[in-house]
Amino acid sequence: MTTIVTENCKNCRFTDCVTVCPVACFHYDDDMLYIDPDTCIDCSACIPECPVQAIYEGDDIPEDQEKWIEINAEKAPGLPVCEEQMEPLPGAEERKAALGF
């Protein structure tokens, strides 16, 4: 079982998810968040928090998003931890609307 951040987070980075993460497993770069699979306990608290439904777990991961399993695992450990909510990226609201949320 793995929980991952996918495509929809890119250029949004709302970070609502990090406030409920019990183990601080979210990491960030300039574009989006990533989950460190070695820290995440698959509690799924973050999933309903994401305003653009970018987070998926295990069996729920859509096929076209499966590449993100590897990307999360590779990127997260080398990036800073996101422990507190940050300002969304500029244009996040517009992107959210464009995604249909």
């Binding site: 406030t19 019990p22 183990v23 698959d42 509690c43 608290a45 439904q53 295990g58």
Partner: protein
């Protein structure tokens, strides 16, 4: 007097209850940019609250959250004072004298009542009792559960109801390598239960399981998960609810029920778990013990997302000898702290405790389930505790700084005078190591001590 929160005059905070919200409050204080000393008080000798005694034994990965609490506990600014009951061994008033602020994080320790006749019959139990029992909580160690009946009924469709139902549905082989208490595993091994009925008062679109918990019912080795297709017919309001994009969790749950309804029942499996909707208990019947439950069929009324269940008058009977109610938790009052009886919580504004007329009481704060009611999962408490600690840090200039507070030393003096044995985090670590050693022999992550005296004898 040096500024409160400075190196010379650190902010002294007593936190009452060492579950997730207590640990997250401690973490937030320790990570803040002021100087603090946290004393975390716990009623049992063992910390971690519901992570230890609530999270189901077959959800070991969730319990890994403890690693983070251990990091907090390793801070030199953290101190555990366990095996101490605040309210009886030491008062909240005494904590207010020894510390600058007190945060109540005592959780929601009891169940909501069904409020129907026969509720207290032998054979009718709370989910709390059963969960505490299989998780080795000392309060419930000696409870007896008679699993010699064919039919078990669970009232409620939230994650606790799912845990209780799943534990009853699993075989010993599915549980024996978890940290389930041995005394519970021995009783479950003799279980005669063949049917488990999980009853929700609203419809399949309003069940409160998480999708992941429900999915586990599709993976049981010796139990069919059964939903009747006709029970999945939705009223128009529920259809609207499921079309709402943000309601994706309910949609996933509904889809999972649909998947169960299409499955062939495997006759080789010895148990069946039935999910039933739109009904609630009207009466529990039995002479000396529970014999049957009268369920009243419900209908929904109201707008989408505001639908409530109302009895239709039509009833059905279900013969059963064992029933668990799991319709929510409530907190219990602590002497010296205001309490809202109808909500089962401590009245507060963003974590600042108020009296029942909304007047803020200086020094007193709260976080977790006792603050906001029993909703959300482990991580939800992190945001909740952070909010409370932010309020406390904003208030620091208003806190009494007229004299030096004695902190933990004052607590120890009171406890020692009363001859109350208190244990520290290093003491707990000894118990922890022993439990893990005991588990290893059986291929379990740990074998818990289930009596307080046993734990104390290992220190």
């Amino acid at each position: 007097m040096a500024k409160l929160g400075s190196e010379e005059n650190p902010l002294l905070v007593a936190i009452v209850g060492s579950g997730p919200s207590g640990f997250y409050a401690a973490e937030a204080l320790i990570k803040s940019d002021i100087s603090v000393k946290v004393d975390l008080l716990e009623r049992l000798p063992s910390p971690y609250g519901l992570v230890r005694s609530g999270v189901a034994p077959d959800h070991q990965k969730l319990k890994q959250v403890i690693a983070l609490y251990q990091k907090t506990a390793d801070s030199p600014d953290f101190n555990l004072i366990a095996n101490v009951n605040v309210g009886t061994d030491i008062s909240v008033e005494e904590l207010c004298q020894s510390h600058h602020a007190v945060i109540m994080t005592s959780g929601a320790e009891t169940d909501r009542k069904l409020g129907v006749a026969g509720e207290d019959l032998n054979g009718s139990y709370t989910a709390t009792e059963f969960v505490g029992w299989y998780n080795g909580h000392p309060d419930y160690r000696d409870r007896q559960f008679d699993l010699s009946h064919d039919v078990a009924v669970i009232i409620g469709q939230g994650n606790v109801a799912a845990d209780v139902s799943r534990i009853l549905s699993k075989t010993v082989d599915e549980l024996k390598h978890t940290d389930i208490a041995q005394h519970a595993l021995d009783i479950l091994a003799e279980s005669k239960i063949k049917e488990i009925h999980v009853i929700g008062r609203r419809g399949p679109a309003q069940a409160k399981f998480t999708p992941k918990e429900l999915r586990e019912f599709g993976e049981l080795s010796d139990c069919n998960s059964i939903v009747r297709a006709e029970d999945l017919i939705l009223n128009p309001e529920s259809e609207i609810e499921l079309l709402e994009k943000s309601n994706i969790a309910s949609k996933k749950i509904y889809d999972q029920f649909c998947e169960f309804s299409k499955r062939e029942t495997d006759p080789a499996k010895s148990r069946n778990c039935y999910f039933k909707f739109l009904m609630g208990p009207k009466e529990l019947i039995g002479t000396t013990k529970l014999e049957k439950v009268i369920l009243e069929k419900n209908q929904l009324s109201g707008e989408p997302f505001k639908q409530s269940a109302r009895g239709t008058g039509e009833t059905i009977e279900l013969e059963t000898g064992i029933l668990f109610r799991s319709i929510g938790y409530r907190g219990v009052p602590i002497a010296g702290v205001p309490f809202n009886e109808s909500w089962g919580t401590i009245p507060n504004e963003k974590g600042r405790i108020t009296d029942n007329n909304c007047n803020i009481i200086p020094q007193l704060y709260t976080a977790g389930w006792i603050k906001r009611g029993p909703s959300g999962i482990i991580g939800t408490n992190r945001a909740c505790s952070v909010e409370t600690v932010q309020c406390l840090l904003e208030d620091i200039v208003k806190l009494d700084n007229s004299e030096i507070k004695a902190g933990a030393e004052a607590i120890y003096t009171i406890l020692d005078r009363k001859n109350i044995r208190h244990i520290c985090y290093d003491n707990w670590k000894k118990i922890d190591i022993k439990e893990i050693e005991r588990g290893k022999l059986k291929g379990k992550p740990r074998e818990k001590y289930t009596y307080i005296a046993e734990m104390l004898s290992e220190i």
